[in-house]
Symmetry: C2
Subunit: 329 residues, 2 copies
């Protein structure tokens, strides 16, 4: 199995990306890792101990965080992210991962790697945090702002397969993000999608509300990219604001500082739970090969974890399973 890694994308690229790739190469000798990027920058980071299953695939250019996604992918054909996508498209890699510009990565998926036959919209599917630390796979979370009912149906099928193949859930519970749990609730999109999801070869449990998500009311959350993003930012904003308030109150007097000393380890644990950035990389589902989006702040551990996820997905033939299920419709 071969996995291409964009060595140049992310806040800590190339240093920590290369370090993560080195650790992954050592841990999984059966997996070939292709580090895509500037050879001159990567080689010194590897040093004299290059594992035999790690190779550098030179790429001249880099897509920057502020680059306009579509233009960057079209014009910078030699960018590390685009070249990694080409490796997947050409069958030279089974999967690619990048911590670079999210929009550009979605564009690379769409324009370079390409959609699976029958998939109308690939979807970005991060794990949302839950209090029990298990998480909910949510899609689409930002690849497409607008969705049709048929797109939500495909998201549900892809998300179910992912959680089954990669996380081992036998019968993932699929919920539709809505404003109430009753079947007739919602807008035109969710009402039409509800009917489609009821007929689909998935374990559909009906509408779910954003307020129950942290208690893991489903395993796969289906939403359009706009509503999903609004939800995620509302959750982040509320948690962030409450932590800021608590910090202020804890620092207020000698007594509150005492309380802070007692409670701080527990609050840190809570903060960790709520931080969706800590919940690993997100697959971009519906493409002819696996594309994984790592968070921009990914360090070596995050890169290694993303390789682990990609390995599991490739070994479980995720892409082939999605293709078979979708073309069967």
């Amino acid at each position: 199995m071969r996995i291409a890694i964009d060595a140049m994308g992310g806040d800590h690229a190339p240093k920590l990306i290369v370090q993560g790739a080195l650790e992954a190469a050592q841990q999984w000798p059966d997996t070939e890792l292709l580090l895509v990027g500037d050879t001159a920058a990567i080689e010194p980071l590897i040093g004299g101990n290059k594992p035999s299953n790690l190779t550098i695939h030179h790429a001249d250019e880099v897509i920057l965080p502020d680059d306009e996604p579509v233009r960057a992918v079209r014009r910078k054909k030699g960018a590390s992210m685009v070249v990694a996508g080409q490796l997947v498209r050409d069958g030279q890699a089974d999967a690619m991962l990048s911590a670079g510009n999210t929009g550009a990565l979605m564009t690379t998926g769409l324009l370079v790697v390409g959609r699976l036959d029958g998939i109308e919209r690939p979807a970005l599917a991060p794990m949302l945090p839950t209090m029990d630390d298990i998480g909910v796979l949510a899609l689409d979370l930002g690849a497409n702002m607008d969705a049709k009912p048929e797109h939500l149906l495909q998201y549900a099928i892809m998300g179910s397969i992912y959680r089954n193949k990669v996380h081992g859930l036998e019968k993932p519970r699929v919920g539709l993000l809505n404003v109430g749990t009753e079947a007739k609730k919602g807008n035109e999109l969710t009402k039409a999608a509800y009917d489609l999801l009821e007929q689909a070869p998935i374990h559909f449990i009906g509408n779910v509300e954003a307020r129950d998500l942290l208690n893991r009311s489903c395993d796969v959350l289906i939403c359009d990219g706009f509503a999903g993003n609004v939800m995620l930012k509302a959750m982040e904003g509320t948690a962030g604001t409450l932590f800021t308030f608590l910090k202020q109150e804890f620092g207020d007097s000698l007594m509150t500082k005492l309380a802070a000393a007692i409670m701080m380890p527990r609050l840190r644990k809570l903060k960790g739970k709520m931080d969706y950035k800590e919940h690993g990389s997100a697959p971009l589902l519906g493409l002819t090969g696996l594309v994984m989006k790592c968070h921009g702040s990914s360090d070596a551990v995050a890169v290694k974890n993303a390789v682990r996820q990609a390995r599991t997905a490739v070994a479980a033939r995720l892409t082939e399973s999605i293709a078979a299920e979708i073309s069967g419709k």
Copy 2:
């Protein structure tokens, strides 16, 4: 000025509704209050001290919390809520308020009171909590799940006029709920609405994200009912889950109980801040008369506060101002 009060709607009806009406009648002798509901139930609650500016307007029926809204309003023509709406429609009252079934109240607004000429969709506009306790008026929050760009434009105009007339804000800052602050962000709806809002006679400050709302990043938040509801429930759910977690952790040991004793008053303050139910009644804007939705759990103080808001709005000629601005387009 005359204000009709649905005496039979809400968790604490008729007792605390009547009590709130009595207190309001005493406080504002210039305002005539019409208590609409079952005379036999209301009279004993008033007792022998009926203020001269309070009258009972008998209504036989009651709309129940679980009634299907449209059917209930169509069939129960003698229900207290519907009769209060008729009083507004017929010019016998300038405003009405109810703590009853929200869906039925919106239906009463639409079918009994009626839309203002030129208004396509009336909007429900509650105040969302902010950390500084001032709040953000958000609309639409549930009257219509789907919206067109022109509806969002009308929401913005109505919300601006409300905050100006009722809350005295000279130049309310209007923000469009979106997934990023840049002008080109969002779905088809928000992109089209953005262009309309830029041309409107309001102080449009652009897109706002759900994560900044608690810090009062705008005075009027514009959203479709679906996205707004998802946002609100995500905020409520996150706050509720965090409070539950804190409660558990604080009860964990002798030391954490000590910390709890120190911090509890501050946490209660925070919980109060986050509870949108405590932020008063919500106008249903765009009708030929003012309709106010009080929370189902309203007590006498909440009813009195709703009368206060209604008085201010009627005195400031809110409905006439909205009509003039909309018909001017």
